[in-house]
């Protein structure tokens, strides 16, 4: 490993990129605190209005948790009211029955919720979509049953009353001030989280789990963490809720309330904590104005959920933010060169990749049937073969997406065994996909930053990551598109974003799965140029491709697959004149 700090663009130039600004959010935080204190001072110190604001403030902290798990990480949770309930009950039981101080009760509530959140997160190991929704509903229903029936602990349907407020903050103004300050803290935390490495990883998991895995992200761990953070925010909201109303009961934290919280998040905009804030205050205060609808308010929430999903998928805040969005300016000036040869290069033998008797069977189908070949360090190695010959399966086995039936894969002499994709990426291989897998909810730059954040890469701090990502984008010629949403680029350019993402991780071995698929002839020419430049830098590349012109232009070595078997292996000249290869492509019988 090199101990030298990687070269980066001057920090003052990088400051136009939000994620590279350490002080980002400080002015907003200060403004938020001032508003919190003002509202607390101006609001009435007791009575109905105070209760409404208090309810909105404590709920909004929980709804910010939904932003993390649903908005950032794309995992549905229909148990957020349950987490508020756990937090509120922990606070109530500890302060009332055990005489614990409020602050310690709050910390305990957050910790207990975090533990339950992690447990629920573990359920997301192999489950997504409606299965996960069902798990969270079950969790919510069981929680409500426990709150109602475990009378010894929870007081049953009567709940717990007489919950104290912290010493010195018993007054309505003071306690509301505490709630609002913590709300500001929760909102800012959630907002900063989105721009952090962890937040980017969550969004990558949301947008494309498979690509997230091969970018080195431990998908399962990220989901569990998202559930944990979400539950902790729920617990904080619940703990404050208990102090606000000095009384908790099971009917405050039912499945219906979870739906109400979901509606709040969706209405405001589930991509931003500001949306959560807006949605929560709207839905707490609005029904008070529309009292005549009280009978039907849940029906209206239900209808609102459907209408929001159809007409306002980004929520109120998302809708407004899109119209106010200013594109970050282009970073000017020269960029440090992209370090294409990673730190480990040249240390571990002459082969970057060794494949030994690799087989993959799907039931009776032998997609790969004992493949062996080596990829020499510094070479461009092409893997070709007719459709259905097992090329993409091979790449998926190498990168850990499929488990091999038998055989061995060694990356720089290190056996890969049954390592999952993110562990293989950590050890130095990155890849692209035949059907482009970019993270659609993120900008071009953020996509490539996720590549630069590959575990095992030499860049760590945000400025260096941004700088490395910009260098990678510069290399593929997309530097000026850095702040655009990736989905707004044409198809060919999205492919370059994917290549830049793989390059930003400074891999030992780059795997390209049909990079020319879907490109027009000009774009193919550019791609060929790009691959030649990569080759010039000495990067080891294993490329699957159909386009023979491209292969002939860049490949040092060709391996040919047919029906899951290796039928030829050698230099382009040898392989392309091999009779069995010609037969496989042209369908002629092999001459005896």
């Amino acid at each position: 490993m090199s101990t030298m700090e990687p070269a980066i663009v001057a920090p003052e130039k990088l400051a136009v990129i939000p994620a590279a600004r350490w002080w980002r959010g400080l002015p907003t935080a200060a403004a938020g605190l001032v508003v919190a204190v003002l509202v607390a001072a101006v609001a009435p110190g007791h009575g109905y209005t105070l209760n409404i604001i208090m309810q909105a403030a404590t709920y909004a902290i929980g709804v910010a948790g939904l932003v993390v798990v649903l908005g950032y990480c794309g995992q549905i949770s229909l148990a957020q009211a349950g987490f508020l309930g756990i937090g509120a009950y922990v606070q109530a039981i500890l302060t009332v029955h055990a005489g614990v101080p409020f602050l310690i009760g709050t910390v305990a509530a957050v910790i207990v919720c975090g533990i339950f959140g992690l447990l629920l997160g573990f359920a997301s190991l192999r489950l997504g979509g409606h299965y996960l929704a069902m798990v969270t509903i079950s969790f919510q229903v069981i929680l409500t049953l426990v709150m109602t029936n475990w009378i010894g602990l929870t007081g049953g349907p009567d709940g717990v009353s007489g919950i104290p407020r912290p010493a010195g903050l018993e007054d309505g103004h003071a306690y509301l001030g505490l709630c609002l300050v913590l709300l500001v803290g929760a909102v800012l935390f959630t907002w900063r989280l989105k721009l952090s490495r962890l937040g980017r990883a969550m969004q990558a998991v949301r947008d494309n789990e498979i690509a997230a895995g091969t970018c080195g992200i431990d998908v399962f761990q990220i989901k569990v963490v998202a559930f944990g953070i979400s539950a902790m925010l729920g617990g904080l909201g619940g703990a404050l809720f208990a102090g606000a109303f000095s009384y908790v009961s099971p009917d405050q934290f039912t499945f219906d309330e979870s739906i109400v919280m979901l509606t709040m998040a969706l209405l405001g905009g589930v991509q931003s904590p500001f949306g959560a804030l807006l949605g929560t205050f709207t839905l707490v205060i609005l029904p008070e104005w529309l009292r005549f609808l009280r009978e039907a308010y849940l029906a209206i929430y239900g209808a609102a959920v459907i209408l929001i999903m159809i007409f306002l998928p980004e929520g109120l805040w998302g809708w407004a933010a899109k119209r106010l969005y200013r594109r970050a300016p282009v970073v000017e000036g020269s960029l440090p060169p992209l370090p294409l040869l990673s730190q480990t290069a040249g240390l571990a033998g002459e082969n970057a990749l060794e494949v030994d008797g690799l087989a993959k069977h799907f039931g009776g189908l032998k997609a790969l049937d004992g493949i062996s070949f080596n990829v020499r360090r510094g070479s461009v190695h092409a893997l070709i073969g007719p459709n259905g010959s097992g090329k993409t399966t091979f790449l998926n086995v190498i990168s850990g997406l499929y488990r091999a039936t038998s055989g061995a894969v060694r990356l720089a002499n290190v056996p890969m065994g049954t390592l999952p994709p993110h562990q293989r990426t950590k050890r130095g291989m990155t890849r692209t996909y035949q059907n482009i897998r970019v993270f659609r909810g993120l900008t071009v730059l953020e996509n490539v930053m996720i590549g630069a954040e590959r575990p095992g890469n030499d860049v760590r701090d945000p400025a260096a990551v941004v700088s490395r990502a910009l260098s990678a984008l510069d290399f593929v010629g997309l530097r000026h598109d850095a702040s655009l949403p990736v989905g707004s680029l044409p198809y060919g350019h999205q492919r370059y974003v994917e290549i830049a993402r793989a390059l930003a991780g400074s891999p030992d071995l780059l795997l390209l799965d049909e990079p020319a698929a879907g490109l027009n002839s000009t774009e193919k020419q550019e791609l060929s140029e790009l691959l030649r430049r990569l080759k010039g830098h000495g990067l080891t590349i294993l490329v699957i491709e159909h386009d023979m012109k491209l292969i002939e232009a860049v490949a040092d070595h060709i391996t040919v697959l047919n029906f899951g078997r290796c039928i030829a292996d050698g230099t382009p000249r040898e392989v392309l004149s091999h009779p069995e290869v010609i037969a496989a492509y042209l369908g002629e019988p092999v001459p005896a």
């Binding site: 794309g74 549905i76 229909l78 573990f122 359920a123 190991l125 192999r126 489950l127 979509g129 409606h130 299965y131 929704a133 069902m134 798990v135 509903i137 079950s138 969790f139 229903v141 069981i142 049953l145 426990v146 109602t148 029936n149 789990e209 498979i210 219906d256 739906i259 979901l262 509606t263 969706l266 009978e295 039907a296 849940l298 029906a299 929430y301 239900g302 209808a303 609102a304 959920v305 459907i306 999903m309 159809i310 998928p313 993409t392 998926n396 997406l401 499929y402 996909y433």
Partner: protein, 257 residues
């Protein structure tokens, strides 16, 4: 996946109630009419809740049907009030004694209808071209469209069929459970749980899942603790999901890279 499926049963039962008790139609006519009306409602439902979101990912549709599952019972609640109503049984004879066990006619007719519907469903889905087209649509809409299957019509048929089936379940259990706005949620969550335990798309799995949940709740309530009756089914569901997420009879479908 439709989280409002149980609400179809609730609506079916309410339509039966309105037509039979309110309008005064003969029982069999109200019975048939509620199923036919619900098939029509299924088409409306598909058009409002599913169709506008069909290209926007699974999560969006899930959330939208959850919205519908909140809207429907609460709309009925606002219109009809919270008090549960009773509906007469299909047959006048309440039941008979088989040895020392009393056999309720309504339960017998539920079982008979279930067997009938399972056979009918098997015949439709496995033996007819329509069934094949429906299955093709559910597995891969794009491919189905390319093969000339009218995907929109198939989706509407699916929703109409499932709404009608839901309504049938609703009118059958109505005399047993009472008709209330909450019945949909109970039916939906349990049916859904049974489906997951058995494995999505497997009819024997769904039946076995239902039996497992019923047994777990009854045995749990008898031997462990009665107030937690509703929890046992869910606990079994959580265990099944953690150990064998594809369900007992389901096949694991991996995403293709």
């Amino acid at each position: 996946m439709n989280f409002a499926q149980g609400q179809f049963s609730m609506l079916g039962a309410y339509i039966l109630l309105v037509l039979f008790v309110g309008v005064g139609l003969p029982y069999w006519a109200a019975f048939l009419a509620s199923i036919i009306l619900m098939a029509g409602f299924g088409v409306l439902f598909a058009g409002a809740v599913y169709w506008p979101l069909r290209n926007r990912g699974q999560l969006t549709v899930i959330i939208s049907t959850i919205g519908a599952s909140i809207l429907l019972p609460n709309a009925v609640l606002a219109l009809y009030g919270p008090s549960p109503a009773t509906v007469p049984t299909l047959f006048d004879n309440p039941g008979f004694m088989a040895g020392s066990v009393f056999v309720d006619t309504q339960y017998l007719s539920i079982i008979a209808f279930t067997i009938l519907m399972v056979i009918l469903q098997y015949l439709i889905f496995e033996k007819t071209m329509l069934g094949k087209k429906l299955q093709a649509t559910s597995q891969d809409k794009e491919m189905a469209a390319m093969l000339g299957i009218p995907v929109a019509i198939m989706v509407l048929i699916t929703f109409a069929y499932s709404a009608a089936l839901g309504a049938l379940a609703g009118v059958l259990v109505a005399p047993v459970l009472f008709v209330s706005v909450g019945m949909g949620a109970t039916i939906a969550l349990k049916a859904f749980a049974a489906n997951i335990i058995g494995g999505f798309g497997s009819i024997p799995g769904a039946i076995l899942g239902g039996i497992i949940i019923g047994l777990a709740e009854t045995l749990g309530a008898t031997y462990l603790s009665t107030p937690y009756k509703d929890a046992y089914g869910f606990i079994i569901l959580l265990l099944v999901l953690l150990v064998r997420p594809q369900g007992l009879f389901g096949e694991l479908i991996a995403e293709k890279a």
